[in-house]
């Protein structure tokens, strides 16, 4: 269940191929890629800088993957999250889940993203024409994570 926190970009095809290689029990691979948008709350975004908490970031992502594995029947999962300066259109985050069937793989992938949004220690700062600003957390992210129930202590 690998986790990578890196400045560099990633290649979806290569990551999927590496995750499924040699395991022919896998019948479903679900992936999610998050991208930097060029607008946010009505303002144009020139660039974005992602800060994180080295050490805790990796631990929290590993914990989320363990939780996903305990809830659904999946073979493997991968999270790559970038940090540093990113431009509109750049890839930020990748989640890949491999399982025997699509139901568990879809659910686990969505769960991992919902939990990552509220638990992994990343913070976004946007550069706009009016200057830099820290992105505010969205209450919708909390409710997206809460709908999975059985919330672990936060």
């Amino acid at each position: 269940m690998p986790v990578r926190v890196q400045r560099d970009d990633f290649d979806l095809g290569r990551e999927v191929a590496a995750l499924v290689r040699g395991n022919h029990k896998i019948g479903a691979v679900v992936s999610f890629v998050g991208l930097v948008r060029d607008t946010s709350d009505g303002a144009g975004i020139a660039s974005m800088t992602l800060e994180h908490y080295p050490g805790m970031t990796e631990k929290s992502l590993e914990e989320i993957l363990r939780e996903a594995r305990s809830r659904w029947n999946i073979f493997d999962a991968l999270v790559i999250h970038r940090y540093g300066m990113l431009a509109p259109g750049d890839q930020i985050v990748l989640v890949v889940v491999a399982g025997a069937h699509r139901g568990d793989a879809f659910a686990a992938c969505e769960f991992i993203m919902d939990y990552l949004k509220t638990r992994a220690p990343f913070w976004k700062k946007e550069e706009t024409a009016e200057g830099a600003r820290w992105v505010q957390a969205h209450p919708a992210d909390d409710s997206a994570a809460a709908r999975w129930g059985k919330d672990k202590p936060a």
């Binding site: 992602l50 908490y53 999250h81 990552l116 949004k117 913070w123 957390a137 936060a154």
Partner: protein
Amino acid sequence: MTKVLYFAKLREDLGCESESLALPEGVKTVASLRVHLAARGGPWASALAPERAVRAAVNQQIAKPETPVATGDEVAFFPPVTGG
């Protein structure tokens, strides 16, 4: 000593990324450490005021206000996370 880290907007508001401090008598939880830090006044009082959304971690695990803190711990304060 106890290591205290600050991230993102909180780090900028406080002008402090990390520090080592001796926990005073009576500071035994995340909540009481926050009150102790806010008592420094100035940006500390405003950025750590009770109405501000501040999250914490102890030894790199998400913590609650009542989570214990002790000498040798690594405590972090930060705004609600916005990754993904």
